[in-house]
């Protein structure tokens, strides 16, 4: 039996949902996978899509609903780097540390991001703007060292260029907020 990822296309805009609505939707997903063996990973994917991340309380909720041990869920969530137990920032910076990016000074960019944003790898900045992740090769080796911010790729990034790139996102946020206020 194969479980298709297509099922994860959701009708709702999760950002506007309350926690209660999100939990109810996750419960529905679990119900739809009922009696299907090996469905935990699919459920976790869906839950992360709906809730944004997988905090312990949500893992316990899933454990109870699926009647499986929470330790098993924690084992799976902590094994796959796709799953996050921390709330994601508004933007996700993915720094490539594949071979090409690594040898062309990727580590310096990693250090610069950490310094500029005061954030550790795998964590989110205090203001909730950025989540910083390391990935292994984004298929842009010719542009090394490369970073992705959300869906945009930036090539040949250096610590000097970094500030300008980040400011694009910070400014955009301010504009949106300003617009909402007005």
């Amino acid at each position: 039996m194969s479980l298709s990822l297509e099922k994860l296309a959701f009708e709702h805009d999760h950002e506007s949902q309350t926690d209660e609505e999100k939990y109810a939707e996750i419960a529905q997903v679990i119900e739809s996978y009922k009696d299907k063996e090996g469905s935990l990973i699919m459920v976790l994917h869906a839950a992360q899509e709906i809730y944004g991340y997988l905090p312990p309380e949500l893992q316990e909720f899933i454990a109870r609903k699926m009647n499986i041990p929470v330790s098993e869920i924690h084992g799976v969530v902590s094994f796959y780097s796709f799953f996050s137990t921390q709330k994601k920032g508004k933007h996700t910076i993915r720094m490539c540390q594949g071979t090409a990016c690594y040898v062309r000074g990727g580590q310096k960019v990693v250090d610069a991001i950490k310094r500029n944003l005061n954030v550790e790898v795998g964590c989110t900045t205090e203001d909730g703007q950025f989540t910083f992740e390391i990935v292994r090769c984004i298929g842009a080796c010719g542009l090394a060292p490369a970073i992705m911010i959300d869906d945009d790729v930036y090539k040949q990034v250096t610590p000097a260029k970094l500030k300008g790139i980040l400011s694009l996102y910070e400014d955009a946020e301010e504009n949106i907020e300003g617009g909402a206020d007005a």
Binding site: E60, P69, V70, S71, H74, G75
Partner: protein
């Protein structure tokens, strides 16, 4: 099943079809070193120590012999240079992320990893590098030191598959892998039952009981403390294994002698309190049955409450069903309550000057003695719990030559016990002991089974049941005439879960259920010596030894214990007011994620 033929190290070998290469080799006298594999419990292929070369049919890589099935016509090498070198490399890689604090480890010279290094001829450590460092996690019962863990996952197998408690899991991946509870919570804040089966299978010092040895030693050397000791029934059939004796060796007399030489002021016996428990629990069962027969709302089945691991299991998993538990404290807690009240008064001591030490085959008993409800007059009923293993350590440290001690008796009067008390140490024993008394109270006749053994519930199968018909009852039990009392017995949480599902759904056909948390009961409890052979053989031998203890006793029914009869003359009726104050308790609703309580059994480290 048909046999297969294969060649191992040039020798023609025959083995039953379905054997692994490892099993086939062992059957033919060829030893293959192994580490993570544990017969009947854990087969995972994690450590790769048992690798062999498969010449035919040709396999490119070395094969983990514990995982690969032996096939007809196979040609295997278990000891050529390639294999031996690979094993050493594998060992050194495991060693490279181990803390190597052997000299200060309590498993020193009792460590499977250490012994394996010697066996493989490891004489260097060539892979020094980064090490994963973890804090040590201490709870009332268990101490977890991931820095010593070699990730064999035996504990995970026991916790998930055998006990179905699934507290421990392998979290993270690669270098960051750690065996821990969910969310890396301290084990003292989880739904762990503290059964300690993980400490029995751990090959290294990563999982062990939280030591009370210092606590006991300090009390023994405190002139203001009157230190009273009591060993549980299963300890007498386990302790000799700490001194190299085979499983199933009973050494009750030497046990009493050793405790006396350690300096305990009184060497009593938890068995006395087991007889006391039968009086209290039997009375409680009779009360519930009477209420049931007269149309009352007595919660049936009644379930035994001697096993603190089982208590914690039901508190987490079935918090709505706690009224099925007998309200009786476990025997050693009853004993402590009696020592610090009745007995202290008798010998003219203040309760706070009494120090009660329990020797238990159990790690959960340590957490039990930290439970606030198991205290009276502001004092814990029991002050320290040593596992059988810890007692063995202390006897050695004190230079006592255990096997050459004379056989001695326990002190009186709280050292006198019946055969019914001995069998508290094995699955089915508490039930049988209770029936020996309850049946006689209702009918006036002895329990109608050969040699007083309720044969349908004797044994090691997961769930055993029996029906006992009450006929020609005493006049005061007229309402029970013709009643078919249905009983069930289980040990280990897999069986307990099955019986509890019935209870929870209101579909349990039973009146009385005995549950012990560890498979086999206390004889193979989490605090017993680690088996030196197949656990199933050890369980069988210790069980026979326990029944042997019972059968050697002249008196084999708790209500005929003269010391118990004398006690109740002064104390009052079983189930009376004083009993309820001192010998009975209540339970805590906890929930699967501890969501119903704030109580924790974590011991904070500096």
């Amino acid at each position: 099943m048909a046999d297969i033929r294969l060649t191992i190290n040039g020798k023609e070998c025959v083995a039953p079809a379905g054997s692994t290469i490892l099993q086939a080799a062992e059957l033919n006298g060829i030893h293959i070193p192994k580490l993570c594999y544990l017969e009947g419990i854990h087969k995972y292929g994690a450590c790769r120590i048992c690798v062999v070369e498969q010449v035919s049919p040709p396999a490119k890589n070395l094969q983990a012999s514990c995982m690969v099935e032996a096939k007809d016509g196979m040609v295997i090498n278990t000891n050529n240079a390639r294999v031996l070198e690979a094993r050493k490399t594998m060992y050194e890689l495991l060693l490279s992320n181990h803390d190597k604090q052997c000299l200060t480890c309590n498993r020193n010279q009792d460590c499977e990893f250490q012994a394996l290094g010697r066996e493989l001829g490891v004489d260097g450590s060539h892979y020094e590098g980064e090490r994963s460092l973890h804090p040590i996690d201490v709870s009332e019962s268990l101490t977890r030191d991931p820095n010593k863990c070699i990730l064999c996952r035996r504990c995970v197998s026991v916790c998930q598959k055998i006990q179905t408690t699934s507290v421990l899991t392998a979290a993270n991946r690669g270098f960051d892998t750690v065996i821990s509870p969910a969310f890396n919570l301290p084990i003292g804040s989880t739904d762990c039952t503290y059964c300690g089966q993980c400490t029995v299978v751990c090959p290294v010092g990563a999982l062990k009981e939280t030591s009370h040895k210092d606590r006991v030693l300090r009390a023994l050397n405190n002139p203001n403390k009157h230190v009273v000791v009591q060993p549980a029934p299963a300890v007498r059939v386990g302790i000799a294994e700490c001194f190299g004796q085979p499983a199933g060796t009973s050494e009750t007399g030497k046990l009493a002698a050793a405790l006396r030489r350690m300096g305990f002021d009184e060497v009593f016996d938890t068995n006395w309190a087991a007889d006391l428990t039968i009086m209290e629990e039997g009375t409680e069962f009779l009360t519930r049955i009477k209420e049931f027969l007269t149309g009352g709302v007595a919660p049936l089945p009644m379930m035994t409450s001697c096993s603190p691991g089982w208590i914690k299991f039901i508190e987490h998993n079935y918090p709505e069903d706690l009224d099925h538990l007998s309200s009786c404290k476990s025997p050693h807690q009853m004993f402590g309550a009696v020592i610090k009240s009745y007995y202290a008064e008798k010998i003219g001591k203040k309760p706070e000057d009494m120090f009660v030490v329990s020797i238990m085959p159990c790690t959960a008993k340590k957490t039990e003695c930290a439970r606030p409800e198991l205290s009276n007059d502001g004092l814990a009923n029991v002050d320290a719990v040593l596992t059988t293993r810890e007692l063995g350590d202390m006897i050695k440290a004190m230079g006592i030559d255990f096997m050459n001690l004379p056989d001695e008796e326990f002190d009186m009067p709280l050292g006198l016990s019946t055969g019914a008390a001995d069998i508290f140490g094995v699955t089915g024993g508490v039930m049988e002991a209770a029936l020996r008394t309850v049946y006689e109270i209702i009918t006036g006749r002895e329990l109608p089974f050969p040699n007083l053994h309720v044969s349908p519930i004797v044994g090691l199968e997961q769930i055993r049941e029996a029906t006992i018909k009450l006929e020609d009852v005493k006049p005061e039990w007229k309402a029970a005439e013709g009643l078919e009392v249905k009983i069930a017995v289980t040990s280990g949480f897999a069986g307990a879960r099955k019986l509890m599902e019935q209870v929870h759904d209101g579909k349990s056909p039973y009146h009385f259920i005995e549950v012990m948390g560890c498979p086999g009961g206390c004889i193979t409890g989490g605090g017993q010596p680690r088996p030196q052979e197949d656990i199933n053989i050890v369980r069988q031998k210790r069980m026979e030894a326990i029944y042997g203890e019972d059968e050697r006793k002249v008196v084999r029914k708790s209500h005929e214990n003269k010391a118990i009869q004398a006690f109740y003359k002064e104390w009052g009726e079983p189930g009376g007011h004083k009993s309820h104050e001192y010998l009975h308790t209540h339970y805590v609703k906890r929930g699967r994620f501890n969501e119903l309580t704030n109580e924790s059994f974590v011991i904070e480290q500096e």
